[in-house]
Amino acid sequence: MSRSPMLASLTRHKLTVLLLVLQVGLTCAIVCNVAAMIGHRTTQMRLPSGVAENELVLLESISVAAGEDPLVRHDADLAALRAMPGVRSVAAVDALPFNGTNWSNGIATTPNGSTPLAATAFNGTPGELATLGLRLVAGRDFLADEYLPVDSAHDWAGINRVPSTIVTHALAEQLFPGQDPLGKLIYPGNGPIRIVGVVEHLLRPGLDETAGNEYATLFPMLPDSANVTYVLRTAPQDRERVLKRAADVLTALSSQRVLRHAQTFAELRDDYFRRDRTMIVLLLAAATGLLLVTAAGIAGLASFWVQQRGRSIGIRRAVGATRQDILRYFQIENFLIVSAGIALGVVLAYAMNLLLMERYALQRLPWFYLPLGAVSLWLLGQLAVLGPALRAAAVPPVAATRG
């Protein structure tokens, strides 16, 4: 079939076609960006935290007893928690992935050197690695004689004296690309700290848009402020029971304290990503709404054209065009319009992405969202035009003779 009559007919409806192209273009641009945002957030939500997420419960204890040594308090609490039935191991920590309490240090690799990046310090009692379920991929766990207090009363001065650290694989790769990190020295405080181990994954307490979500250092430092988080590892089905019991055990030991944020790790993660989930639902709704509105527009205009062209369709049928030909005519016409819209949409999508990157620190639009958007709009266009096109194909040749 020759294309020229089709183009001729399209140029007769210049304004309408232009509007449709604009609409498809705008929809394509927005949908591509929205899809990229959904993709990015979903990726963030799926980041492995590195800990045994479905086996952990935690609660924060803030002691208010006067004149008490926090280290002694923690030891007593830990012993009582460890003795609970169903508890595999316990640790007192000061930070966890998603808990928002972030102590970051600039990390230098030479004494008083520049600090190209900042990493979160995770401190905890012996057994922290095993309790959290961190996977050690190189080196060893801390030795008992390496532990010392954080010294939170004096500006967390423990960081200047601690001998060893375990870092994440991501941090090791960034600091010592392509080298064996074991035995290397880093300077988060004044003194040199030797890397003795590498864990596969450990997310920082708060995520951001940069690549440094796994820049984390573990130190053999004992939390020594009145405010501490106890982590208990247990079987997944025992979590609720253990959590309830743990609060009772701690209160029985000393009621001079505030217990808060008693929750499973799964709940902690859920809370952390609540805003993102809302946002994803909204983005999905927006994309669906846009596609529906555009489909409705395409279908509306197509059916208008079918009505308008009733007589010429009849003539074409009378001079030998088959139903197939008429059907295909409308489908190809739609394909052309949507393609023009997509071409415009690709340009708009990138322009929009640049604007978003500048104003909201969003990621660059990954290229594969463009073909994805294009294909979905082509499909949508064909679906929307199918009804009117079938109606057009059903126009009998006799329509040519009607006024």
């Binding site: 929809t27 927005i30 990046l117 500006d155 609540r274 805003r275 509105v293 409705a296 308008q308």
Partner: protein, 436 residues
């Protein structure tokens, strides 16, 4: 004439019911979505302290060492170190000034059977109450002398006072915070500025309120728990405790300046302070002292979360697509009625008449879309209120937004109708009749 056009519009509405319904639906959805977000924005960018905000300023100096690494935050949080905050406080060059920090303390009720609980509040200096016009239900704030004496006094929110002392006035009572007894000297009336502008701006700055206020120096002496960002730099061994050292920033500082002249003078004072400190080997960065007005400060600090801005842009984009859609559909319906229009033209109707008639038709669609949009916005705002964020409860329609919805709907649909109406009123009478 107008009512005739309106009845014509309604008739054409019933004639092409499917297409008209589609248009109303599309306009309604677009208006509803964008009005939801515009309303959320409207309530969130309101003035947290009407009548006073114009006199309140945040001075910003940058105490950090010269930039040498890439891990530096792009946005300055405006936090002060202890020495700088104390210097500005004692210089007293503004009409009023106060240094403050967020804090949280365990409250130990005197009743033995009640377990201790945690409350968030602020550690502030004396001018805080007068500067922000904090209303008192009973009692008062403390004096500069109390600040210097590190007095064990506290001002409670009415909610906390009720929780601790019931309906009796809390003033004069004693409350145990962490492990020190404090004398209650004042109870604040319901005072919940939204956002909590004087706090360090973060994701939770909406929907938060303070349950107590106590002297900053007292909190420091008793080593109560501070909340908020606390950033340090440098590796000095002689640094001592971080809170009072000059290499850690964590305090918020606000000043009240009653006139533009005073604001200008204060900015100059800040600049000279910065240079004077440089002479003492401090504040190594080149001087660029700034002074933000309250509302500018909230904008600069992105008090309204970026996610919400994104949602607003998205909803406006959605509205744009909806309007484009309606332009196309209106064009189609108007042109389909070419015959009718050309008859009217042939009977003597001027272009202007046709334009007016079609314009009214699009406004009728717009109004119907507005009604639907209002319902959609109501639904949208309800869903916003279900969000766990602090701003959620603010998301309510007010009179301005109600009228705004209709104005936006009608403006959008009239704009959408302009081009089709203009195109339709150029239908030549004779030619169109001949083809019929």
């Amino acid at each position: 004439m107008l009512d005739y056009y309106v009845s014509l519009a309604l008739r054409s509405f019933t004639r092409s019911r499917a297409l008209s319904t589609l248009m109303v639906l599309v306009i309604g959805l677009g208006i509803g979505a964008s009005m939801t977000m515009i309303t959320v924005f409207h309530v969130m960018s309101g003035d947290p302290l009407p009548g006073r905000s114009a006199q309140l300023y945040v001075p910003v100096i940058d105490p950090r060492p010269l930039a040498r690494d890439r891990s530096e935050a792009p946005l300055q949080d405006g936090n002060f170190s202890w020495p700088d905050a104390m210097n500005l406080l004692h210089a007293a060059r503004a009409d009023r000034q106060a240094a403050m920090s967020g804090g949280a303390v365990p409250v130990q009720p005197t009743q033995a059977h009640v377990l201790p609980f945690y409350e968030a509040g602020h550690y502030v200096t004396t001018d805080f109450f007068a500067m922000f016009g904090v209303p008192f239900r009973a009692g008062r704030g403390w004096t500069a002398q109390d600040d210097d004496d590190r007095a064990r006094v506290v001002v409670l929110s009415s909610a906390l006072s009720r929780k601790l002392f019931g309906d009796a006035s809390g003033v004069g009572q004693t409350v145990r915070l962490k492990n020190t007894d404090f004398r209650v000297i004042g109870v604040v009336d319901d005072w919940h500025p939204q956002p909590l502008f004087y706090a360090q701006i973060d994701k939770r700055v909406f929907g938060r309120s303070d349950e107590f206020f106590l002297p900053l120096q007292t909190a420091l002496e008793l080593q109560l728990d501070f909340t908020g960002r606390f950033s340090c730099w440098g590796n000095d061994d002689d640094a001592g405790d971080g809170r009072t050292s000059d290499h850690c920033s964590w305090l918020q500082f606000w000043v009240q300046l009653d006139s533009a002249t005073k604001a200008h003078a204060y900015r100059d004072f800040l600049a000279s302070y910065w240079r004077e400190q440089q002479a003492h080997g401090r504040l190594p960065r080149p001087e660029h002292a700034r002074l933000y007005g309250l509302l500018d400060w909230l904008t600069y600090q992105h008090a309204i979360p970026d996610d919400l801005r994104l949602q607003l842009s998205l909803s406006l984009g959605f509205l744009a697509v909806c309007v484009l859609n309606v332009v196309g559909l209106l064009l189609a319906t108007f042109l389909r009625r070419g015959g009718e229009i050309s008859v009217r033209r042939a009977l003597g109707a001027r272009r202007r008449d046709i334009f007016l008639q079609l314009g009214i038709e699009s406004s009728v669609i717009g109004l119907a879309g507005g009604v639907l949009g209002l319902a959609v916005a109501g639904l949208g705002l309800w869903s916003v209120r279900l969000r766990p964020d602090g701003y959620a409860q603010l998301a309510r329609m007010d009179a301005t937004m109600l009228i705004g919805t209709f104005v936006l709907a009608v403006v959008a649909s009239v704009l959408a109708g302009l081009l089709p109406a203009w195109r339709a009123c150029h239908i030549a009478p004779a030619l169109q009749l001949k083809t019929q």
